[in-house]
Point group: D2
Chain length 339, copies 4
């Protein structure tokens, strides 16, 4: 940490801050500047947010952290990218571009099985589908719950695709884990730390979505919650952040791909469906994401979007998805990845 | 809902959309415009998000909701402000301005009891204190948990102040409810719908904080989750939204006070401590909030902010709080409220 | 500036950075940390943005500024608040709360003269009115231009109120200065540096509006452009920032009042009309702004908002304004200011 | 426009609104809903912002625009993409991907001529360089002004590359036009309407940058200012928007590419340098932009970024640029464009 003293702060204030830094187990190092003094507090500042409280001491103007607050997610711990096995013979984070596709909500056996076959035929290697749906309105369809999980398992059996589905309540972790190959944490739960800790004790890969207003640093701290409990199989998913722009549902922060690649070894997935909110924008955002260097995509597909119980406007039809996948393969090839 | 057709969309597309509107139980009403047609779908659109999926039909440009999606939170259901009893003889939402004050985290018996006495002496009528702390970092202090709840109960006994404290995990609802007078939902859990539903079944007042990126409408929908389960005692708490500005921790959206007052009968509380992140900014934001017409405040106080385990920089010292309360009483008087 | 080296950056990289710091006229001071090194560059860093370019050197992770980049606007130069004379006997920044009121656009003699009389009767001491209107659409009414300025001058003569009006083009500075008592810079021109420099050479008070996405620090840098050209009479006007929230036109950043009061000696004015976009929200935001400690308000008033050529929805009717002013006087009194 | 009446608004209020709609030259069409009435105002609403003022009438809840407010920029006027000639034999918007490259600021003859040769060798077809620099601080380097323009002209002569440079003051339009092949409007001037109108009267292509907080719709309205004055050669440039995220200087809104492609015929350019602020992030954002379907890029290059007078941290070295261009060609090929 760097502690910036106020202009005009006297010797006593400086001495008090130095004393307090020592009490907290750090070594103070003062730089006497031309208009003000600055103190470096030497030592590992992670987990010691109490240093921030020095801001309340007389003569202190601000406290500036220097170290990144995460450890296990950082490239300092593991400089090479992590390849995470999500199903036998299928890893995310290597030279395979993994595409997860399927409907927002599981609605019926016919819907999910038909979709599974079609997305597999188009080249997807994971089936997505929601059984527990966190909806803004209590009056909206809340998902088929365990019945939906059973239909997903059936679709897996029929198609051979592993399944990813969301868990929203710590109480349901065991239930969802009984069916899912990959456990998804939705954007609204990115700082549901109770849920994250439970998932950290699981032996299943986790797809962790960034929240609408989560900074990259906070996002990595949420991953750290899972990693620090022991589960090392975490995939990070950017799905759009909330900005002033209303032409899209959210703003896809595609620069999060190279930023995360610089800071962490964990694989990065992009969700262009929730990011844009409009099916017509999804293919070009898939191409862009792959060109930016992501490790995978998660895309919403529905056989008949105009009847979908949720997220119809952002769902591709299977034939649109198939056409997109063909072009995607060409972009992937340029990056050295294959579908 | 208003369905806006594309310029040049033909008769068939229009007929298909009209047909689908009828299938969904609405009455279509077409306005033939000079460059495009617009269809009103007459009927109660709330909870029928499936109408939004019409956006996927050929010829449709956009679907624009008209009705507010919440019911029980709205002034249409209850035009007069709700006064919510939070302790015997103490209501929020009437002519009493309720000030809740105390430390971010409960740290020790001495700390919480001393603070309770001091905030009471200054005019606070509720004691706040965190026992379960949702922290961005897994390495930060996570709260004293049940031990913290016990200390809060002790401080209540000593001071006579009712207590408000946060619950973060649906699993802990019963535990926290055993000690707390008011259950607080933190900003990160504003869309933790599993938690909201459980709190909706409780016979306790709820302090629901707005999330960092929650719109007013989404905020009211979260309140609706609690209300629709039966619990009518919901207080809405604005605590700053996330913007580009970094001079403050968040940006206090003080216009949320009159906006909420126009749209809902529920009381509105302001948290200036989390909004600003700096103790020196707290008093003026308290004055502004009261002048804007809020029903209460929740303020962080710590006997020695420079040693606080969390949120030290934004905590007022007891004597600063006492000075602030004196001036606050004068502002409250102008609004017709009393401390 | 603090230069943070990467973990593992070698001695040579450190030596190169130190050498470059010296070349730029600063004194390097190294702190050897536990996991990385940090270099303080001692010297006045203001105006020396080239230091930021050290970020491109091998081994450098980031460059963190410590000093505030503005000088003349800072409290270090002038610790006491500046009271700025805007008309004979009328100053902003002292114990008088100055209310500027009038229509968004000057539309006719009748409209502006009638409004001038009415706002004066209600207690306003400055008349606002736009003659040059920066409009988002080229097809919208662009203002009456010099004819509008003449009508403003007429209204001043009739009412005795000094006038504030916007200048949008450097070319028009002399023309507007011929009529206006206070020159207004609109939110869209907050970084129109050519305009700011010209206004810095004028002997007229300037009302500088914050832009929709301007940080407090950038806002003060824009003021610095005017101050550094010689004109010390600058008033800062917060008028809402752009956020994700759509219930209001912008989000009024009322915490900007105490933040600015900590950082600058310049007076702070609030514009609740553009901030909220809805007349019904304006009075409570006026009360809040005064309670927060602002030095003045600028409010849109129109005799018949439903026929206004611009900004009708956010304009108060004269009788609503008069009612608001009565209550405002009570709030002002608590702050020690008078209307 | 759709005028939404309040629940409970009576017949008289409805009649008054209908009357006023007619007075304004529109045809009212009422839809009687289950809980409230809605009125469509039929007619071309563009440029008639006065309709918005109906919001001030009794009984009106809100006024919702339906039509897009721009005309000449829309695909309704010109459904096919516009190819804009920027130099003899060089067009933007067709099957050629145009890369503009060069330093942020022109600093010396050697710097700009060397850079011109190097970026040309790497495949760039336009040279960028700033002579008038809008800088946040009045104490920062403000550009070489006309001397810089002369050096740009020299570099053009030496390299054969046409030049793009920024104009910041309406007064300088003729001066800059004397030297530049393409006139650039910076992000801070996107709503400097006086400048836009002058550029609309010029016979030069314009590169119009989106502002930090400009919506897509406002961006197109700014283009409309230029188009409506007669100049049809407008290129739209996305350069990052301001959000809460601080890991990047701004957030590149790459979905703006397909959104703009749906709404306008004008070509779309991406500036990844200002968007990200860090050179290491620039190549992947170039790839992503091309994959998303942009028509061109504008990239900052500096022979020695660590000595740059401005924007060093985001400038690529010439050899980094050359390597990036090779890979870019492969991505462009997939999209059917060539470098």
């Amino acid at each position: 940490m760097i502690i910036v003293m106020q202009t005009g702060a006297g010797k006593e204030a400086l001495a008090e801050v130095k004393k307090r830094i020592k009490e907290l187990g750090y070594k103070p190092h003062v730089i006497h500047g031309t208009t003000r003094n600055v103190i470096g507090a030497i030592g590992d500042e992670r987990g010691k947010s109490v240093l921030q409280s020095l801001e309340s001491m007389p003569g202190v103007e601000s406290v500036v952290p220097i170290l990144k607050p995460y450890k296990l997610a950082s490239k300092e711990v593991r400089p090479e990218p992590s390849a995470i096995e999500i199903a036998p013979g299928l890893s995310v984070g290597g030279d395979k571009l993994v595409v997860m596709a399927g409907p927002c909500s599981v609605e019926s056996e016919e819907q999910i099985v038909e979709t599974a076959h079609k997305v597999k035929a188009a080249g997807a290697t994971v089936l997505r589908g929601g059984a527990f749906k966190p909806r803004t309105s209590p009056y909206s369809f809340q998902g088929m719950e365990e019945d939906g999980l059973k239909l997903l398992a059936l679709a897996r059996e029929e198609s051979g695709l592993p399944i990813v589905t969301e868990v929203v309540n710590p109480r349901d972790v065991d239930l969802v884990a009984k069916y899912a190959d990959i456990m998804q944490v939705g954007a609204r739960n990115v700082q549901n730390f109770a849920l994250l800790k439970m998932l950290g004790q699981l032996d299943k890969p986790i797809l962790l979505k960034r929240g609408m207003a989560t900074t990259i640093q906070e996002f990595l701290m949420s991953a750290e919650y899972i990693l620090s409990e022991g589960n090392q199989r975490v995939m990070l998913c950017e799905r759009g952040i909330r900005t002033f722009e209303t032409a899209t549902r959210n703003t896809l922060d595609i620069s999060a791909v190279p930023v995360l690649k610089e800071q962490t070894h964990l694989p990065v997935i992009i969700d262009p469906s929730h990011a844009t909110g409009h099916a017509s924008l999804v293919p070009s955002m898939c191409y862009a994401s792959v060109a930016a260097g992501c490790d995978g995509l998660i895309v919403e597909i529905h056989p008949t979007p105009e009847t979908a119980t949720s997220d119809g406007p952002q769902s591709l039809r299977p034939e649109e998805f198939a056409a997109m996948m063909q072009k995607l393969a060409e972009f992937a090839k340029v990056t050295g990845k294959k579908l």
